[in-house]
Symmetry: C2
């Protein structure tokens, strides 16, 4: 895993950085490219001060959105689900019943709060543990590159 | 927070690095200098594949051990409690009922498994969430230094 450098970032990753900064400023802990379950990978998973789990998918263009056949599968892995898009995105494409975040590479703003659909307690516990392991392994791989963990998480 | 560089590390941090490498090789996610509760700071907190939480305190010398008046307070914040020491440490000083890990800066080995005293479920959930937030915030601060999070966690 590499440190973030805007010149190498994909458009969706630029949005994710702004989303993460904004959520962090509200007391959320955030990780990117989290795998809640086999075959699924969400752009941003955020853990709130009360243990709430939010998923944010970042879409940089109409094509990026319309080619995503998996997003409904993410709804079962969070308490609230959001899209993050930039100011040029045609937001009328986005389905009802989801949250909306306006983002750029530097910050973001929640335009529409997502409805809450609370995780069951066992899944919340498992997801939180997975979040913890993912973040700690990536952190260790960065802090101690010689540990040979770079393939993890 | 800085990346690990042995020349700047304290003796206890060198041991912690070896401990973390060893535990990671057994599927644990690890963080250093974790604060389970106000006024407490453990050297290594490890989260196991089944959600188990282990605390490892690293002692580089007799003086380092005898000056620690807080360790018994850590017992309430883990399922198992270990000391990590180097080969020169007088292990007869260490109290019964604790685990023992022999470590250097590169690896470690569990010499004596710590007895298990399982956390109650609510405390486990809270600690796991805190572990997750700590790791994610440190990771974000490293990956995105301009986010201004370096004071966190």
């Amino acid at each position: 895993m590499e440190l973030l450098s805007e010149t190498k970032m994909m458009p969706g990753q630029v949005l994710a950085r702004g989303v993460c900064r904004h959520l962090a400023s509200h007391g959320f802990a955030v990780i990117e490219e989290f795998v809640p379950d086999r075959g699924l990978r969400v752009d941003v998973m955020a853990l709130g001060p009360k243990g709430e789990l939010w998923v944010v998918e970042c879409k940089s263009s109409r094509a990026d959105f319309t080619s995503d056949a998996k997003w409904q599968g993410y709804l079962d892995w969070c308490d609230r689900y959001f899209w993050a898009v930039d100011a040029a995105f045609p937001t009328e494409l986005l389905p009802d019943g989801t949250g909306l975040i306006l983002a750029d590479g530097y910050d973001a703003e929640i335009l529409r709060m997502a409805p809450e659909d609370k995780l069951a307690a066992p899944r919340r516990a498992k997801l939180t543990r997975k979040f913890a392991a993912h973040a700690a392994r990536r952190l260790q791989a960065l802090r101690d590159p010689e540990a040979g963990l770079s393939g993890w998480g």
